[in-house]
């Protein structure tokens, strides 16, 4: 065996403990990364097989040819097909069966009066397709709906809503429909298609409640007779279809559904996780680098001896690198196994917490193994590179001198470079914020700020620890003083240790500040542009929910307490070749309940051929009042609209406004997303709200909220997101914590004799433990303080840059309570990290410690 390699192997064996922290850091990072990739692939594959199986009986789908997709939507809106087309299709030779598929939004109300689902996955209703091969759902219990008002629901939805066969409840379509559950259905053997809820009704009911007018369906599902392939079937169907209607194979349709789930949910989900494993690995890099640097420093004498005995620089460096390599490979390898374990664990965990992800074997692709392995090795070797080079540079003479632990503070070069970087960061960030608002220079500024913080760490460490530790002397006496000075011993090391935590805390603070700012923005938006007294809405998130009954707004308008009740519906159309969301409403009433900013023209008489749009959209398309805008609707028809008004603020009202009359010919399933209500003069808020609530109860019981409540609930999703982010960032914090613990253990090892002396002259074990713990807390406090400052600054830059770069005005908010919690968590992490090193140090035998060389 090669000499360098032999050296590193023996040293690894001798100092296994030292590398335990490094091993764990790499292991966790790689495991998280590999777990994410395997999970993503597995979910993708199992969704794929689920859709494949669910639609295996469907050989072709007939549907509207064109889809209008608005920005931010994965699945476009298609023109419906006539149900009468079913008979035409059935007559085509080779067709065994055909059934219309009528689908719309339909949210069940549970036994407790609360809506079922709606927090992400769609809540669907449709006709129960009687041909069992064409229907992805199968009846599991009870019977099929035979009469109007009878429905089958998927078992998962029934469980969630506490509903049983025989129960009568409300289905929001969004018009409330009284339905009786007569059967429970499964989806390819599962309780449901993931978390999607489905209510199957008779075809007549479906046509009545889910479509704009009877005789329309979202599509027609077709089954081929024996010997007819899917492609052949599509070829035969195509000639009989009217213009604007197309046929695709069942496989294609399944693929589209799968892609939709992938792009809408899985990609987002995995990207999200990948970002956080990136943060964790970045944090790990710092911890690992620090460990190697300390180990090399501690081995200066040994390396010098090797050099004196004739080892070349390269051999000494190679020995150090080989050591890192062994750690990297074993830890990354173990990380891969851990990642597969995580994926398997999650697969088992999801159903247990009522989140039925589809079954299926774990999909382990080469890439999801090779990538984390490579990243782990690169991170580990990259972190060890500099210390290894330094090891090679050891002068042979050092062997003869006293062990010199690296106690060099901050060099002037470092201070200058850090300051220059910091200034550049500030300049770039301010350019992005103030001069030409854009996210790119701001992002560059953020990156530079991070680098400058890391570079300046050792410069700042001395002052910062002195300041942060100042109260410690007074509170903890000599124990505190010792802790503080120990933390100050090697500012470089303290800074490097703290950097890991700093990055973790910075990301946490960034999200906290950004989240709070978004909430403040929502709040500001609502309080600025919502001029009503109460808002009626169905809180929903993502694709779920069904909206509000279009009959509710007129019903509220009839109340004596109500001055104006205006419902905002949603339509889609292509404007200027791009899909756009339209707000369908009574524009005159809209102007009374929303602050639309400066309005040019009049919203009074839009009629059936008038449109109002925001200033930003108007400017983008060069439209002025009196000009003509061309809109293409989902039914394929194109109509010219005259721009009658241009308004300043779009926030709640949307970018385009047309009247209900103009929308009526093109409408799909009708629903309002929001109803704004203003009260008559002299009606108290409580009385008005009570009256509105009473009426709303009859229309599926949506939420009736005052302006403040509405603002708060609009921001509800942000809290949910933040919780998830915090959970994911916990990993980075754990890795930083491991880094602190590891550095501390190594540093204590250097100070063995000193610890022995302290114990000999009367330091109790408890005092020694406290001293180590406080040192750890101080290092953590330094990292936390830096992270908090950096994170808040980045948050400010991000918010301000977004504010300048987009049409929406972003508000900046610093949440003191939440940030205080971040600080406490950072300090607690420090105390926790110090626990084990402190215990180990306290166990030292006094005599042996004094006698160590």
């Amino acid at each position: 065996m090669n000499a360098s390699l032999r050296l590193s192997l023996t040293s690894l064996r001798a100092h296994r403990r030292r590398f335990a922290g490094t091993f764990l850091a790499v292991f966790l990072g790689v495991a998280f990364l590999a777990g994410t990739l395997v999970m993503g692939d597995t979910l993708r594959a199992s969704f794929g097989s689920m859709f494949g199986e669910a639609t295996s009986g469907t050989d072709a789908v007939v549907r509207g040819a064109d889809a209008i997709t608005t920005p931010g939507e994965a699945q476009g809106v298609r023109r419906p097909v006539d149900t009468s087309l079913v008979r035409t299709v059935e007559r085509v030779p080779g067709v065994a069966a055909a059934a219309p598929n009528i689908q719309g939004a339909g949210q069940l109300v549970g036994a407790d009066g609360k809506p079922v689902g709606g927090q992400g996955p769609p809540t669907l209703a449709g006709n129960w397709i009687t041909d069992p091969k064409l229907n992805p759902y199968q009846l599991a219990e009870g019977r099929l709906p035979a009469r109007s008002g009878e429905v089958v629901v998927n078992r998962g939805a029934a469980k969630k809503g506490g509903l049983k066969i025989g129960d009568t409840t409300t289905l929001r379509t969004p018009d409330p429909v009284r339905v009786t559950i007569v059967g429970l259905a499964t989806f390819v053997g599962q309780d449901g298609m993931a978390q999607v809820t489905f209510t199957g009704m008779t075809q007549a009911d479906a046509e009545k409640y889910l479509t704009a007018r009877p005789g329309q369906a979202a599509g027609i599902q077709v089954r081929a007779g024996p010997g007819v392939s899917q492609e052949e079937l599509v070829r035969r169907l195509t000639p009989v279809l009217p213009k604007g209607v197309e046929a695709i194979t069942g496989q294609q349709s399944a693929q589209e559904n799968n892609d939709m789930i992938s792009s809408q949910f899985l990609t987002l989900f995995t990207t999200f996780l990948l970002v956080f494993s990136g943060v964790a690995l970045l944090v790990a890099t710092f911890s690992i680098h620090n460990t190697f640097a300390i180990v090399v420093a501690q081995r200066t004498r040994e390396n010098a001896l090797l050099r004196a005995l004739g080892a070349s620089r390269r051999q000494v460096s190679a020995a150090a690198l080989a050591e890192a390599c062994v750690v990297a490979v074993t830890a990354s390898g173990a990380g891969l196994a851990g990642g597969i374990g995580i994926a398997a664990g999650l697969q088992a965990l999801f159903p247990a917490i009522g989140f039925p992800f589809p079954d299926g074997d774990l999909v382990i692709k080469t890439l999801s193994m090779a990538l984390p392995l490579a990243v782990g090795i690169v991170v580990c070797l990259g972190s060890a590179l500099l210390p290894a080079v330094r090891a090679g540079r050891t002068a042979p003479l050092t062997a003869l001198r006293e062990t010199a632990v690296d106690s060099s503070g901050a060099s002037r070069f470092r201070a200058v470079a850090g300051t220059v970087l910091g200034a550049a960061a500030l300049a770039a960030a301010l350019t992005g914020v103030l001069v030409s608002p854009s996210v790119w220079p701001a992002g560059l500024g953020a990156l530079l700020a991070l680098v400058s913080f890391v570079v300046l760490g050792p410069v700042a460490a001395t002052t910062a620890v002195r300041l942060l530790g100042a109260p410690l002397d007074r509170v903890r006496g000599v124990t505190g003083a010792l802790a503080r000075r120990n933390a100050l011993r090697t500012p470089k090391r303290t800074a490097a240790t703290a950097s890991a935590l700093m990055i973790g805390v910075a990301v946490v603070s960034l999200f906290t500040v950004f989240g709070a700012s978004l909430k403040a923005t929502m709040d500001q938006t609502v309080s600025r542009s919502f001029a009503g007294d109460v808002a009626v809405s169905t809180p929903s998130f993502g694709a779920g929910g069904s909206g509000l009954s279009p009959r509710l707004a007129p019903a509220l308008q009839r109340l004596p307490e109500v001055d104006t009740a205006v419902g905002l519906g949603r339509g889609v159309a292509e404007v200027d070749g791009r899909g756009r969301a339209l707000t369908v409403t009574d524009p005159a009433a809209l102007a009374r309940t929303f602050d639309l900013g400066t309005v040019t023209g009049s919203l009074r008489d839009l009629g059936t051929d008038g449109i109002a749009l925001t200033r930003a959209e108007a400017d983008r398309q060069g439209l002025h009042t009196g000009d003509t805008a061309r809109l293409t609707f989902t039914d394929g028809r194109t109509q010219n609209f005259t721009v009658r008004a241009v308004y300043g603020q779009s926030e709640l009202a949307g970018d385009y406004v047309i009247t209900r009359a103009a929308w009526a010919p093109h409408r799909t399933q009708d629903a309002d997303t929001l109803i704004a209500v203003t009260f008559e003069h002299g009606v108290s808020a409580d009385a008005g709200k009570a009256a509105v609530r009473k009426v709303a109860a009859r229309y599926g019981n949506p939420e009736v909220q005052t302006r403040e409540e509405y603002a708060q609930s609009s921001a509800g999703g942000i809290d949910m997101m933040l919780t998830l982010v915090y959970a994911l960032l916990a990993l980075a914090v754990v890795i930083a914590l491991l880094g602190i613990a590891n550095t501390l253990t190594l540093a204590l090892h250097e100070r063995t004799r000193e610890l022995g002396l302290l114990r000999a002259v009367g330091q109790t074990r408890a005092q020694l433990r406290a001293m180590v713990r406080w040192e750890s807390v101080l290092v953590a406090a330094f990292g936390t303080a830096g992270g908090l400052a950096l994170g808040s600054f980045l948050g400010w830059v991000l918010v301000k840059a977004s504010d300048g770069a987009s049409d929406t005005a972003f508000a900046f908010a610093l949440p003191p309570a939440r940030l205080a919690v971040v600080v406490l968590v950072g300090l607690a992490a420090g105390a926790l990290a110090g626990l084990r090193p402190a215990r180990r140090a306290a166990r030292l035998d006094v005599l042996r410690a004094i006698a160590t060389e």
Binding site: L488, L757, R765
Partner: protein
Amino acid sequence: MTTTALRTAARVVGAVKVYGGGDTAVHALDGVDVDFPAGRFTAIMGPSGSGKSTLMHCAAGLDTLTSGAAYIGDTELGALDDRRLTLLRRDRVGFVFQAFNLVPTLTVEENITLPLDLAGRWGDREWIDALVGVVGLGDRLHHRPSELSGGQQQRVAVARAFAGRPDVVFADEPTGNLDSRSGGEVLALLGRAVRQMDRTVVMVTHDPVAAAHADEVLFLADGRLVDRMASPTADKVLDRMKAFEVRS
């Protein structure tokens, strides 16, 4: 001095210390009975492996005896747990080690008051000032140990050892790392503390010149007390040591 000699600052009775077990068992102490009278400067001498350091460590509560008993004043050390032993060391015993006596992060003054600070005691300012005056480091109080010479560091260690007015100060080869001039200063300091300030010192050494500073020298060989010599001189001690080597 004769009156104080009646009082015992520390003693060991039937002290046995065995390292290892079975065939490889080593008897570092093999039944030692010795009193360290208060107000006296006692030196322990003996060849390497004679058990002199072990005797000191056990008498000072840094190590435990296999059998027998060790006392500081009237306190039996074997009955104390780690915490009480630590408090005893802090409050009633002082130490001067061969090297690495000072905490590098603390100043000279802080090092001197370290045992008091650890106990949370204020200490006797006049006493501390007097000590500082005796060791002659008044102008270095705010320096770090790394800024001092080896001799100066040992003098600080001596001041630290006496700061809490302990019952007894144990010194383990305090001059082992020093040149003869610095060593002489440190020994003179220890002697002065005993004679002028009425303190008690027990010193382990292998240097006859150092031992000559003591009031009495105890000779250890193979874990047993083999001789005592009052009013030693360097020559007498050296002769005695030579006699050892001849005999063994």
